[in-house]
Symmetry: C2
Subunit: 441 residues, 2 copies
């Protein structure tokens, strides 16, 4: 029999709306998070979408036995909203009726209803489907979602268009060994390590573009700062005056994100004990000077003149925080030898590039820079590096038929989230992290 | 030398803002899209971010030779804004000065500055970096970005939280042969065909979630409706009353998206000649009846009682459009044998499921349904299908420790875009499509 469906979004009352229903009877749905028995009554904490809600069971007003309830149950509850200053929301709900929608098969093997889940990171991740139900864990990923929302509203307001580039590629953007390979109908394919080449191509079509999506790195690093699949926030813009404009853009972006977090996630930030950093101005220091500064300040020998060691990034941030008060620092002009083939060299000194990294609380969270837009220059640099321009035919098509001066940057979403919330390990800011030892859950 | 960077977003004046600068001198940046020589003057069309702008060169007011300009050049221009009713924007800019920022290496081998790029789909895709610069092609992907923005604002307003689930997985959500495999540090990994299992897990933590991201299908189909990597819009919600709620939710979502497209993309929709469909109400017909209806109406024998043939989907849409005026139709209650292991069977008839597809203008764009939330039921259905529940340990952890009744759906972004804009081939709604024969650009 043919019927008709009309549009409707299922409504479920949330804790922050209870203020509108004081002394009224309301319907709620949630999962039983914790039951705290007192004498003659009990607190029943309900995990709701927005936050944990304090409900009260009592023989005097609840028309059901407390034994009906168990942790992990999904229920529909009916009760009266009562002002209660000691409750987090300022209200509690006196339960009158309950309808059990689903019952768990087993008791959880971990305690998840305390402020923190007190287990090792390994256990935390092994039991992700359970540990993510913890209130603080939920807050981390609500904040991460709000970061993405803040980024997108910034991009949208400033004319950046969202793109979706392929993750299955015939070639590799950055070359090298750190690429996952697979068989694609008899051809060799690679998983994208970055949308780099595509976002440059798209500058020729849409001028300002961005993408927030997964990238894949087959790096064998097993550190607190590496995962093998992460969410990359990629930005690219045409008609770039110089690469300083990209740093200005990134600060404006971060300021917008932090401002929006303040508005949308105050409770979650508090739960995570997070202090949002100031970013009205950020110091910039050239790479070579930064190396020197760290070396001199801490009497460290420079062992690698081309790149930072992680410890040097931490120390540089420490110096900058002391000298300028900034928890961010841009490091500019990385050496050409350490930057990819598409990086634009500094005209006055081709040993260095018009590039930057952004360090935040000791960790590199962004790499960016101006790109080569001229076809002949790009082909020349490829040849100097022993690369075959023919392998990049479609990429170079963008340059060949004209590209404006352009540049952009990539930001690691998990790294930003982790540093923002002072999580020591990037895995703590990843729902289901992938590393050299972990492919589940 | 240490310096300081302040936040700033580079501003570039766009055609729709010219109305504020009538008779003023303005600075513009863009790529030369087309030069149309007339007698004594020339139209110079500039490809700008927002749209193509008509500029005028003339010996009488332009302080440079027309020969300075060539198609594909990126330029900064200075000129006076003059009202011109015959121009698309209502204004044109009389060029006074020009600064060339970049010059193409070669003339394009294709004509891209006409309304349509008149080449085969193959050529269109082979030359994507160039053909995407065509105004209509740009419009397609601006609309696609606006669809995503509309989806996200709908989700955000209704309490759905954005998640990022892994694309590298140890197991497969749907099983079967249509999965890309790769070596992951000595282990076998699969590319996600869907975030299905993760979004169900996340219902236990965040209740309402969504993800817009890539999924990968190693299907050997080479049709106008299949690509091997596509962007899936995945939604999942807890405390579901019944699967009809999901169809209501999807209509509300589509209505919101179309409304936002009307506001944000009127010019692009016009360029694409697109008519947005009505979706105030959508007919629902059970699968078995739909098969019967098509068979009877068109005197077709039913060869496959379990699934639709593509032609049947087209015919069903044709019948529905005639009978109800709706360009959409929900088909419900697909057979259990054709739905995945997590689909909830209809209590009164376990041969069929609490599931639906949404067809739009002849094409299936969504699959959804209620899921099994009970641990024992889920394990039982797995065993009946010869699956090993132990291989799904972390997925089943969600059920084991309690999951609310829930369900959701997946929507193919490229399919929706293609049908909305009446593009015959889904590849035309994909920036860089991947199919059995294509891995570049």
């Amino acid at each position: 029999m043919m019927t008709t469906i009309l549009p409707e979004v299922p409504v479920s009352l949330q804790p922050r709306e209870l203020i509108l229903h004081r002394n009224e009877t309301v319907q709620l749905s949630g999962c039983v998070y914790k039951i705290r028995k007192m004498s003659g009554f009990a607190f029943v904490l309900l995990q709701m979408r927005e936050e944990i809600l304090q409900c009260v069971w009592s023989e005097t007003f609840s028309g059901f036995s407390l034994e009906t309830l168990q942790c992990g149950m999904s229920v529909e509850a009916e009760g009266i909203v009562v002002a209660e200053p000691r409750s987090h929301s300022g209200y509690e709900v006196r339960l009158q009726k309950i309808r059990v929608l689903s019952t768990p098969e087993a008791e959880p093997p971990l305690v998840i209803h305390n402020r923190e889940v007190n287990v090792s990171l390994e256990i935390m991740l092994d039991y992700r489907p359970l540990t993510l139900r913890n209130e603080r864990q939920r807050a981390i990923f609500k904040i991460q979602a709000a970061i993405c929302a803040g980024l997108r509203s910034f991009f949208s307001e400033n004319g950046f268009i969202e793109i979706h580039t392929p993750k299955l590629c015939a070639g590799t953007a950055e070359g090298g060994a750190n690429v996952f390979r697979l068989d694609y109908f008899g051809k060799e394919a690679f998983l994208a390590t970055s949308p780099q080449l595509y976002k440059q191509i798209m500058v020729g079509a849409l001028e300002r573009v961005y993408e927030i999506g997964p990238v894949f790195r087959a790096e064998k690093h097993d550190t607190s700062r590496h995962i093998n699949e992460y969410t990359s926030v990629d930005v690219e813009m045409g008609f770039l005056r110089d690469f300083q404009q990209l740093m200005q853009l990134e600060i404006a972006m971060l300021a917008h994100v932090f401002q929006s977090l303040r508005q949308t996630c105050p409770a979650e930030l508090k739960l995570c004990g997070a202090q949002l950093p100031a970013c009205e101005k950020i110091p910039v220091i050239p790479f070579a000077e930064a190396k020197q500064l760290v070396s001199e300040t801490f009497h460290r020998a420079i062992t690698d003149t081309e790149d930072f060691e992680p410890e040097e990034e931490r120390l540089l941030c420490q110096i900058m925080a002391e000298q300028t008060g900034s928890e961010f620092v841009f490091v500019s002009h990385y050496r050409s030898s350490k930057r990819p083939f598409y990086a634009k060299d500094t005209p006055s000194n081709p040993q260095i590039t018009e590039s930057f990294d952004l360090l935040f609380r000791g960790l590199e969270i962004t790499t960016g820079g101006q790109r080569i837009h001229d076809y002949a220059q790009q082909v020349k640099k490829m040849r100097e590096r022993g690369m075959d321009p023919a392998a990049f035919e479609s990429y170079l098509m963008a340059h060949r038929y004209g590209l404006p001066p352009h540049g952009g940057f990539g930001l690691g979403l998990e790294r930003l989230t982790a540093r923002l919330l002072n999580l020591e390990n990037i895995r703590s800011a990843t729902l289901f992290p992938r590393d050299i030892n972990r492919l589940t859950p």
